[in-house]
Each structure stands twice: as structure tokens, then as C-alpha cells.
Point group: C2
Chain length 586, copies 2
């Protein structure tokens, strides 16, 4: 019943002319043309043209005439050159065709709900018929890349002595962090497993065990409201190392990053990658994950503001506000008055109550607020930004947080609209020394900026008592093209420091023991200095595949409401199942 | 604070004598001896002796004197040859020691609850302090092997064009099969995800999508009562291929199996591996996963039974019972009368109401039932088993099922006790052509022998209507040393056959559509012929590591009650968490 294939549909060239071959695949297109029946046969590897000639017999031709798109067939035939002028240079197999001598129909199909080679169907249809959507070559290409990426990760890590260790999916709920998915226990009534938000504690325990170097491509789970590019389950390359400092982790990972860049972009990276202080990048770019493919650096303009006659700017200092801005080369011409109103509105979505814009001219500035800038202020601005005629200066006066938000987003928008960078280019950097803690006004306590297991910078240890918000963490984020592609920290291996941090996070010693007793016990039983990192696999696939929808890099993704439109998960279950789990609907 | 290591503790030899080095690790042993303080420093890679000499200074020696087992330290020093006669040939580093010039204490510890290098502690203690248990070199060795095994699997599969595709952990409950773990949905009240028992349906859908060759080292979940060697989550190498028949899957996997054998046992396998018909192996060995490292083949003795004067044997035919037995070479001397009573009792635990034993002598048989065997019967037995003086013949008369159970277990026991094989040897074979269906008297319907998606053998298709129990499946199990190391089938790619099988399993068309609608839809939309297999990763690790407890090959295992003694999972959760999930205790 099966015609065993001799070649894939992406393989035959003139070198095989005259050979008897068998191909298997899907009918990608068919045409009945001048007494000949043509089909394009498709598989994961490519497309090959098959022709049923009159010589092959009337019965075979008749059967071939009944083939339709997406029928699954096996074809036996002989490789022949295409007629002169009929070659298809876009296909690897475009110089040849297979002259069929027989075929088997494995499965017929009704007309599919959308055409595989056609325009992209709407997402609901794509997800409901995911098994058809995944037939589209543009999607398959992403999964080939994903496969190659994870293989590369595993091989590079393995070569460096890291051991792949599996950690449990059925774990314990640790409410510090995002919301857990829970799994009721059948054996222990009213007890629940939790799906891991990451293997963080397990990998630290492996360091305590002396595994020395661990990695895992790990599935992680967060039961959070799904924003556009979030999924309830996601995948990370999880790494931990013993007897290291932050720079050791970064330089180890740079080997992998360089290998990824080489493989997926052809670029040879200069190592080490830039390592940028958190406080600097936030000051210079308004964000802790700046896109550094372009400049548009922010400048503090407090001194200039003081020289203007512009009330909003002049008063900023009194309010404790910042006055900051950047200069977009060539922006003056590109942005009309109406466009600039659009930018002002855009800045408003990030809380900015206004946007000051100035078009730099050969002499002086243009714009409704230019008149508030006396000559010395204009000169200062020109000098600060090295501004030239035709540039556009944008200024926001507001709180630190609002100027960060508004200006970093304006920066990204203008860079794109002014085409200040090659969107296919890549820029990699580390952002280091994040704050350890952030004050949560709502909960009236500190929360961990990364996670509660992060080691403070040693020179800041004394500040834990005097000014915890000032303590910097031994933390490092990998930023690629303005996206956080990964992040890690050196961990607290000292149980006393770890306990002190738990206290700052509002946990009493009893609560800390109740929630994290096993970690504290492990730290007390001979924990080595250790640290690690996690890289977002989904995000890296998106970056290297040049896609923006996370659902395109996950084989069977869920909607924003957490539904799998194909299987119908989550679904209802039988009452017996709930009874066994000692739960009922509330 | 960190002394950056220059070498691991398993690395230094005479080649490094005179070099300044830094080692990091755990104190494995210490002794204060004749004015010298010695410590053995241990890490994942080995153990190195460090000596603190008086030259190093009184203060350093004094600090070193305070070191105790499992303290974590970094040591700076110089490599020196050990004193003549003090070498330790069992250690790679045994010819040298490091003369310490400085050290840093990273973490002290109280006396650990058990000694890392000491006798194996009880399992409860091991699991509670898993982070210490995993320090034991005998355990770490298993995880190194596990890492190498999964790396090998991924690389071999990848080289053969298989793509690693991740499938969801949050799936839909499909009650056909084992019991599901459920995950309540927060967004959809009274709806539940289920953790996958295997990626079976997803991988079939990937074939429908044209992925052609898929693999994944996949986590699977079954909420079943845990027998000794079961865990609620386990790991399998999951594989699926399109346009293949059963022998294609087997021969593809044999490439991997040969690579595993080469890597972990040094053996070059002869391929193809033996492929044994299910009915034959059950007849010959009483089991569908026989250990073929030894013979002890079962023989049918119905004709001999008829020639005896032994009522139990003579009547077997009337009752529809089987009379079967095997002959253990050299067993007569090894088993005393008391031992044979023990074997009879052992057979009884498998339902056998008796065990006939005969000791073969130069002339005639010895044993209390020998007298019931007249000469022709004795001659027939001798010939059937090619029996020699000193052999032991064991016979059971009972139902097919009981003779299978009793004799296959007796066979395994005698082979071990008589040392008929090298326990370090490996034997690989395929058992093929299992029955498709088994009759479930309790549920009064057929159940799938493998799973409901298996393709019948084409020559048996007609039997689906006339005699379903006789239908053989396109199924194949990999058997290693009497363990089922993996199993797979060719799948139903024909929606009509799949529907017919669902009907035989007792599903109405509506139920089939409700439960497996997406699969049927996929089959109708152009499914290729396809099939696959899953290999049990945990079991392979156990086989190659020579361990018998599955908990020794899982980093953070659960007890037979599904508890993680270290973290306390499953644990209680806050009422708020349950409320968000729309459930409450019942």
C-alpha cells in the first residue's frame, strides 16, 4: 500500500535525470493542460513537478485528473528534464519533472478551509485548523529554525561541561512571584502541586549538590492575563554555574550568543559584548532594555530648561521633575505639524502631559514653542545634541518614570519611522547592576526586582540595612534589539544574607521558613557561590525568524484567553474526575 | 571574595607539578596529622588532596584546622608530588597534592544528616535532603549518564532529519487511557486543562502538518497509583515519521539503539535486531517482553500430559488448560526439596495451583511425581527438552494466562539463581504484531492493547468486522533484558478505519467526535501514512546505569504517595488561589 519514497520533494535535480524515483507528499497544485495532467507535489523539503502523460495510460491519467489540492499521494516515475523554457529557477527542483508511471492515493480530502499556499487566513481559523496552518512553508521554516536553535544551545552548553538535568513539572506553590497554575492531588486531599514558573530553586539546589554546571531547556508556566505576546507556557534555556561571578556567567553565555549569531545571521560577534550599567542606560535611553541599533540618546536638559521662558520647563526643577529630550537627525522635514500632534498624543499614552518639539534650522528653531528659547538656550541645545539644520528635537518634562516611558517609546518610534537602522541587523548588549529591590507602595514593602534569591553587590551590602532601595544587584540582562532576551543573577549562597532579603520582602522568619525552608536548609548545608541565567527561547526564535507573534513560534499555542482552539482545551471533565481530586466547582 | 578556580578537583596530575593553582570544592575528609593539616577537596570531577604545611603559616594552618566535612572552600596553592609511598592509585589525582598558600571559606555547615561518602542512608532521609543525597558520586554518575543519553538521542535523531518540536503541557483531558492530572482554568470556570499522558495526538497532528519527522524528549504524566518503579511524571523519547511502515520505524530506531549500546556498553550491535512475533514469544517464553539473555524456553507438553498417570496433567485438556514447562540445565543439584517448595509457593503467587518438578537423572527422573511418568512420557520429556542428567524440569498445568505468568516468572528466577547469564550483558529485540484489541470483561467492551490510534495489519482488516480479537496490530515493542524499553505503532491514517476502531472501543460516533473530533478532522484533511515510537528514558537510564530504583535516575523524585519530601509538594495553598480557580474542597 505504501510506495516507499526514494527522494524527498526538495531533492531532484538534473543529476537524477533518467532515474526511477518514488516521491510522497501533498498535492500543492494541479492543472490539466493540453492532454497532460500536472501536479506539484509538496513535502517539508520542497516541491517537485509531476506530469502524467498520455503514455502513462488513460486509466492513470484519469485517476490523476481526480487529484485535488492537499490529497496525499505516492508517485512512482522517472526523472526527466523539463521542456526548454519551462524551468522554474525559484525551485531547487525547477529544472526537472517526474514523469509518473504509477501513483497511490493515501488520503483524499475535502476542500480545505483555507488554501495552504494562499494568503494568510484569519488567526481563529489558523488556530482551529492548526494542523493545516502548520503545513504552510512560512510557518514550517520557523520550526526548523527553532529545532536548530535548541540543538545548538544544547550542544554548545554540553561542550562546555554543562549537564542537562530535568527538574519537576509537579512542584510546590511559592506565592512569591506570578500566579501559579495548580494541580489538585488525588492522594492528598486539599493539597496541590504547582507548575513551575521556572526551575529557579531546583537549579540552585543542584549547585548545592555539586552539579557545578547545569542547563535545561525548560518549560515554564505563569497563570497571568495574557498580553499580546505571552503564552501560559513558555520555554527558556535555564543555566546555573558554581564558583562564578557575574562576568563568568556573561562570558560563558557569550560563547553561545556568538554561536547563535553566526548560525542565524551569519554575523561574527565582537566579544565581549558591551556591558552597560543599569543607571547609565536608563539615563541615556529611558529604558533598561534599549535598542542600540540606533542612537537618539537622551540628554538631561535641566540647565537649559532654567534658561528658557517656558513655564513648564522652568518649573520642572521645583516639582522634582526631569527635563529630558533627544534629537532626531533629519526629523524636521519628515514630521508635519499633524504628525507632531500625533507624536504628542503618543507621548501622552505614556503619561506625558506635553511634548516640546523644535525643528532645527540653519539659524534658530522652528515651532510654536521656539520663541520661549532665548539664544543661549538654543545654543546650549544645539551643542548638547550636536544638532544640525533639519534635525528635530523632542523634549519631555515630567517625573523620572514618565520621561523614561515617553522618551524611550518616542525614541523607538522615530528610529523606525526615520529608518535610522537596518531592521534586519542585530545588536547585543548586557545591562548590569540592576537595583536589587523596588518599593511596592501598594503592598507597603519591597519586592525583588529580579527574584528574591539574588545576591547584592558586595560593596552595597551595608546599604541593606541603611538604604535598601539603593542596593544594586549582581544581575545582568541580555538585551537584543531592545528586547530582553534573557536575564540572570548571582544568587545568595550565604544563608544570612538570604534571610535578610526575605525580611526586607516582608517575610517573617517563620514565613520564610515555611515557604523557603528547603532552600535555607540547603544554603546552610554547604552552598557554593553560584549564579545563572535564563534565555527566552520563544523570544530568540521570534528575533531570528523575524516574526512578531509568539503564536507563530509555538506549534500548538493558546489564544489570549488561554484556549486551544483546535483541541478545545481547557475542557469540561467528568464529575467522577473532580470527585477523585476532592474538589468541586465553587 | 571568590578564588577563581584554575582546575577542577579531578584534573591535576604530575604534569602540573610546580604550577600555582586554585581549586574550589567541598571538604570530603580532613585530618590533622603530625603538624600537617590535610583535606580532600571534592567536586563533580574528582577529589584532590590539599595539605596545609607549617610553612604556610600558623594562622592559615589554624584556620584550616577548623574545616570540617562539607565546608565549601576555595584553595590557592602549588601542585607538588606526594611523598613516595603516599600515592593513591585509585584517584586520577593520586600522585599529587596541592600545598596550600591561602584559602577562602565560602560556606560552613553543621554536621550533615548523613555522611556523603558513607553508607547509603535510608530513603526518607535521602529524599528530604536530596540536595545532599545528590552530592554522592554514585548518584552523580547516573545523571552524567542521563545527560549523555539524552544528548546522544537528540543528536542521532537530529542527524536523521527529525525535528525537535515542543508540544503543550497544558492540554485537554482524554479519558481513554490512564487517569489525567487536571489543572483548573482561572479564565474559564469549571474547565480544566490536563497534563499529557504522552504527546501522542500532537505528534500525529504534526505528521498531518507535513513535519515528516518529529522527535521530542517529552515529559509525560499519569495520575496512577505508584508502584515501586513508577513516578507521576516520566520522560520519553517521542518519535513520529511519515510515509513509513513498521519496519522503517524499527530500522530507523536501530541506528539510535546501536549508538546507545556502543556508547554505554561498548558493544557493537548486529543489526537488524531480532524481530519476534508476539504469539511466538508468548508461546516460547510466557511473556511479551522476554529476557533473551538466556534460554529456558517453554514447551507445550499437552501430548506428554496425555501419556502420564498424573490426574492434574491428564485432565488439563478437558478443562481447556495448557500444560507447559521448561528445563533448567544443572538445576537438579542447586534446588533442594525445600527450595522446590519455595518455587512452588512462588508459582502460586502467579495463580498456579501447583508446580510439577522432575530432577533428570542418568536413568529416569527423581521427585515425588516421577512415578506418574511412564517410560514413554519420560522419553518424550527428555527429547522435548534435550534434557541431561542434573537438569530440572518444571511443569505447570493451568489456563494460558496462569501458565504464562507462572512460567515466565519462574524462568526469570531460575536463570538468575542458576547464573545462566551475565547480568551485565544486554539483549535487544523487537516484539511485533501484538493483538490490536483486548476484551475487557468488566467494561464489556474492547480496549486498545497499545492505544486507540493503532493501524491493524492490512491482512487482518476484514477481521475487524468478523473477529476483532484476532486482529493483529502494526505494533512493535523494544525489549531489552526483559524490560519494555519502548513501544510504537503505525497509526490509523484512514479516518474510516479509525472510526471503526473507536466504535469497537465502545464510542458512539457522537462520543468519538466529542472526544477526538480534532483528530478525525485532521485525518480527513490529508493525513499521510505515519507511525512512531516512544522509548522510556528513565528505564534506559536505569538499564545502562545498572540501577533498579527509578528514584535514583530522577533528580527530584516523588515518593510512592506522590510527595516531594524536600519541598513538601503537594502543599496547601491560600484560599484566594482556589477562589480564583473557581473551585473549593469537596
Amino acid at each position: 500500500m505504501l510506495l516507499k519514497r526514494t527522494h524527498t520533494c526538495g531533492e531532484l535535480t538534473k543529476g537524477q535525470v533518467g532515474e526511477a524515483v518514488v516521491l510522497n507528499g501533498w498535492v500543492d497544485a494541479w492543472r490539466d493542460f493540453g492532454g497532460l495532467v500536472f501536479i506539484d507535489l509538496r513535502d517539508r523539503y520542497g516541491v517537485t513537478q509531476v506530469v502524467f502523460e498520455p503514455d502513462a495510460g488513460a486509466e492513470l491519467q484519469a485517476r490523476a485528473r481526480d487529484l485535488r489540492n492537499e490529497y496525499v499521494v505516492g508517485v512512482k516515475g522517472t526523472v526527466a528534464p523539463r521542456l526548454a523554457g519551462k524551468e522554474n529557477p525559484r525551485l531547487k527542483t525547477g529544472e526537472v519533472e517526474v514523469r509518473a508511471t504509477d501513483f497511490v492515493l493515501y488520503n483524499a480530502t475535502p476542500t480545505p478551509p483555507f488554501e495552504i499556499g494562499g494568503p494568510e487566513p484569519n488567526e481563529e481559523l489558523r488556530l482551529k485548523y492548526r494542523f493545516l496552518d502548520l503545513r504552510r512553508p512560512s510557518i514550517q521554516r520557523v520550526f526548523l529554525l527553532r529545532h536548530e536553535l535548541t540543538q545548538l544551545m544544547r550542544n554548545v552548553m554540553s561542550e562546555q561541561g554543562f549537564l542537562d538535568v530535568e527538574t519537576p513539572i509537579l512542584g510546590r506553590s511559592t506565592p512569591e512571584g506570578a500566579r501559579d497554575f495548580l494541580v489538585p492531588s488525588r492522594v492528598h486531599a486539599s493539597h496541590f502541586y504547582a507548575l513551575p514558573q521556572s526551575p529557579q530553586l531546583y537549579k540552585q539546589l543542584l549547585m548545592v549538590s555539586g552539579f557545578d554546571r547545569y542547563f535545561q531547556i525548560a518549560r515554564c508556566f505563569r497563570d497571568e492575563d495574557l498580553r499580546a505576546n505571552r503564552q501560559p507556557e513558555f520555554t527558556q534555556l535555564d543555566v546555573e554555574m558554581s564558583f562564578v561571578e557575574d562576568h563568568d556567567v556573561m562570558s560563558t553565555m557569550e560563547g553561545l550568543i556568538a554561536a547563535m549569531a553566526q548560525r542565524f545571521t551569519g554575523e561574527t560577534l565582537m566579544l565581549p559584548l558591551p556591558r552597560l550599567e543599569y543607571h547609565d542606560v536608563v539615563e541615556r535611553f529611558g529604558s533598561d532594555r534599549p535598542d542600540l541599533r540606533y542612537g537618539l540618546e537622551l540628554k538631561d536638559l535641566a540647565d537649559v530648561a532654567a534658561q528658557t521662558d517656558f513655564k513648564v520647563l522652568k518649573q520642572a526643577a521645583e516639582l522634582g521633575h526631569r527635563v529630558r529630550g533627544f534629537c532626531a537627525p533629519g526629523g524636521a522635514e519628515k514630521y508635519s505639524r499633524k504628525d507632531l500632534d500625533g507624536l504628542t498624543e503618543f507621548a501622552g499614552t505614556f503619561g506625558a502631559k506635553g511634548l516640546v518639539w523644535l525643528k532645527v534650522e540653519a539659524e534658530g528653531f522652528a515651532g510654536p514653542t521656539a520663541k520661549f528659547f532665548p539664544s543661549p538656550a538654543q545654543a546650549a541645545l544645539r551643542e548638547r545634541f550636536d544638532a544640525k539644520a533639519g534635525d528635530l528635537i523632542l523634549i519631555v518634562a515630567d517625573t523620572q518614570a514618565v520621561t523614561n516611558q515617553a522618551l524611550s517609546n518616542l525614541r523607538a518610534r522615530l528610529a523606525t519611522e526615520l529608518k535610522l537602522y537596518d531592521p534586519k541587523s542585530f545588536h547585543y548588549s548586557w545591562v548590569i547592576h540592576f537595583p536589587l529591590l523596588a518599593w511596592d507602595a501598594e503592598e507597603n514593602r519591597y519586592v525583588a526586582e529580579h527574584h528574591p534569591f539574588t545576591m547584592p553587590m558586595f560593596e552595597d551590602l551595608a546599604l541593606l540595612d541603611s538604604d535598601p532601595a539603593k542596593v544594586r544587584a549582581q544581575a545582568y540582562d541580555l538585551v537584543i534589539n531592545g528586547e530582553e532576551a534573557g536575564g540572570g543573577t548571582i544568587r545568595c549562597h550565604d544563608p544570612a544574607i538570604q534571610s535578610k532579603i526575605f525580611a526586607l520582602l516582608g517575610l517573617s522568619p517563620e514565613q520564610a521558613e515555611e515557604k523557603f525552608g528547603f532552600l535555607l536548609s540547603a544554603l546552610r548545608n554547604g552552598a557554593p557561590p553560584h549564579g545563572g541565567i535564563a534565555l527566552g527561547v520563544d523570544r530568540l526564535v521570534m528575533l531570528y525568524a523575524g516574526i512578531t507573534n509568539i503564536r507563530d513560534c509555538i506549534a500548538f499555542p493558546k489564544t489570549a484567553k488561554g484556549t486551544d482552539l483546535m483541541t478545545g482545551a481547557p475542557g469540561t471533565v467528568e464529575p467522577r474526575q473532580l470527585k477523585e481530586l476532592h474538589i468541586r466547582p465553587s
